[in-house]
């Protein structure tokens, strides 16, 4: 049985903000199925009582001295932006027309 359907892959693409094509969906569905079946092997390990590891370095609440150092100028910070206006990142429309009006 397949681990993942074409419809589920389409849903994942939407969640991931990827406007995939129909051809891509066909290819990815098969490939993701192979990958997910293989990685599902982790389920074979009896690990109910094992604590999870999120990170190999056991550091918490790392702080440094609050010293003022030069940062990027607005011009530098915006230098790679696709679109900028009045020292701000300019973004495409966020609200629907009827909501905005």
């Amino acid at each position: 049985m397949a681990a993942i359907s074409r419809e589920e892959v389409a849903h994942l693409a939407r969640l991931s903000r990827l406007a995939v094509t129909e051809e891509e969906l066909d290819t990815f569905a098969g490939q993701l199925d192979v990958i997910l079946q293989a990685v599902a092997q982790v389920g074979e390990v009896a690990a109910a009582d094992i604590p999870p590891t999120s990170h190999s370095v056991p550091l918490t609440n790392v702080l440094r001295e609050d010293v003022v150092t030069p940062g990027l100028t607005p011009q530098e910070a915006l230098s790679g932006a696709p679109d900028a206006e009045e020292q701000r990142f300019r973004v495409p429309r966020i609200l629907d027309e009827d909501v905005a009006s």
Binding site: L18, V34, V39, A47, S56, F89, R93
Partner: protein, 491 residues
């Protein structure tokens, strides 16, 4: 005088320090070499001739002024395109960052400059460091100098190939699942993944933040150690940076070079010694084990029963972290923006931008990660993989109670032909079978050439406990003293 490009970093630095040659002359020789062979190799995405010559002139001026130079001053270095370089293009091998010139330097690059090294340019890589062959670069594959129809490994194939093609004596890589060590193995060069947190991630474009580790690549173990020392150590701008001095890797490399390993106990990981690797790789590995025995090392077999689950655990953890990290590529603050016609919504523009800017492997990993983190699947996939990570760490801890370091082949197979594994993504993942456990544990690992199989290089991997990076350099340098360095036949 012999060809400068064939020299080690150590030799070049001595010549520059003594005034026998200038840093400018050294830099010109390497830029000429790049111009001559990189059309065949494609190791570089960007060559910064002007910046390199300016840095070289600065080193020469400091020497003329009587300043004492560091052990790598005047030595050229190639930097993987995953590290930000102020004003110099940084693409991460992706179309989504094409043309981006970062407004700041990564800590590694700052330290390279402070050490007086001369950055030649940025090297090719699998897009976002996801891959094992450099074929997933959006800018075409890098080719292996040993056989240009074969892959140079990945994701840092550009850095490894630049070394093997004598385009640079030193290079920087980053290792999330083997991206320094596996290219080192298949190009006959040395690649070291430091202890996680031993080198700064500030300015390293993130793939999987709990695993990403920048590190040194070179043609000799001593050169790698010198580079490791120059770039390593605590960085207040990386909250996972370990606040401790760099282990004395240079002294360890020198000690190892004497060829004496008496008193050193090495463990062969039994799970990696018999299966999974092709016969030629195993033959070269076992010959290297005999050599290590002759050098005085005591060899014992050690079982690490959970290592067989490292690959599946990694391919859940790394994609999960990547799906989160790559959310920043939204077409707003840097890089590509597609479809902004004034009518489309932010979400539509974002989806079109990411669709156009990311390659297939990056999309696959983002979707796998999104799946593994979804409610309903989280416990069975991401949560379970994190528990397996604990068990793998326990395997390492138990093994290091018995031995000083672990050894294995670096990769299951030698450099494969271009195109051989791109149609089946999981077959590509298998290239990292032996390197991944170390990343999940967080310890250091190094690949050092140990012989040839059918005329292609084979690497031996040494894995050490966290913050005992010096141990792996000692073992690698000892093996190098017996095996010697490998020279590709073609270029």
């Amino acid at each position: 005088m012999t060809d400068i490009t064939r020299m080690t970093a150590t030799q070049i630095a001595e010549l520059v320090a003594s005034g026998e040659t200038s840093a400018v002359e050294v830099t010109r020789a390497h830029l000429d070499r790049i111009a001559a062979v990189d059309g065949q190799v494609n190791a570089f995405l960007h060559v910064d001739s002007e910046g390199a010559l300016a840095a070289a002139r600065e080193v020469d001026a400091r020497r003329s002024a009587g300043e004492e130079l560091g052990p790598l001053a005047g030595v050229p270095v190639a930097v993987k395109d995953v590290l930000t370089t102020k004003g110099v293009p940084t693409t991460v091998g992706s179309k989504i960052l094409e043309g981006w010139r970062p407004p700041y330097d990564s800590t590694i690059v700052q330290r390279l400059r402070a050490a007086g090294t001369v950055m030649l340019g940025k090297t090719n890589m699998d897009e976002f460091a996801m891959g094992s062959s450099t074929e997933y670069s959006a800018y075409g594959p890098t080719r292996n100098p040993w056989d240009t129809d074969r892959i140079p490994g990945g994701s840092g194939g550009g850095s490894a190939a630049a070394l093997a093609a004598y385009e640079a004596p030193l290079a920087i890589g980053s290792d999330t699942g083997g991206s320094i060590r596996q290219p080192g193995a298949v190009t006959g060069t040395v690649g070291a993944k430091p202890t996680y947190g031993g080198t700064s991630r500030y300015g390293l474009v993130a793939f999987s933040s709990s695993l990403d580790t920048p590190g040194p690549c070179a043609r000799t173990v001593l050169d790698a150690a010198l580079l490791h020392e120059a770039i390593g150590g605590h960085d207040p701008r990386d909250s996972t940076s370990i606040p401790a001095p760099v282990p004395d890797v240079v002294a360890a490399a020198k000690l190892g070079a004497t060829g004496d390993l008496s008193g050193v106990r090495l463990g062969i990981v039994s799970e990696f010694a018999g299966e999974g690797a092709e016969p030629g790789v195993l033959a070269a590995f076992h010959e290297a084990v005999d050599t290590l025995t002759k050098l005085g090392a005591e060899i014992v077999e050690v079982s690490c029963p959970h290592f067989r689950y490292a690959l599946p655990a990694y391919y859940l953890i790394a994609p999960s972290e990547c799906s989160s990290n790559l959310a920043r590529f939204d077409g707003v603050r840097f890089g590509l923006r597609v479809g902004d016609d004034g009518n489309r919504s932010l979400e539509e523009v974002m989806s079109l931008t990411r669709e156009a800017g990311f390659g297939a492997e990056v999309k696959r990993r983002i979707m796998i990660g999104t799946y593994a983190l979804s409610s309903g699947y989280y416990d069975a996939y991401y949560g379970q993989a994190q528990k397996v990570r604990t068990l793998i760490t326990r395997d390492f801890t138990a093994a290091f109670e018995r031995v000083d370091a672990l050894i294995s082949p670096t990769t299951p197979f030698v450099a494969f032909p271009l195109g051989a594994r791109t149609s089946d993504p999981y077959q590509m993942y298998l290239a990292d079978l032996f390197t991944i456990p170390t990343n999940l544990y967080g310890g250091p690992g190094i690949s050092v050439p140990c012989g040839l199989s059918d005329g292609l290089p084979v690497g031996l991997q040494v894995m050490a406990p966290t913050m005992a990076d010096d141990r792996m350099y000692r073992v690698a340098a000892a093996l190098e003293s017996a095996v010697g360095t490998l020279t590709p036949p073609q270029l």
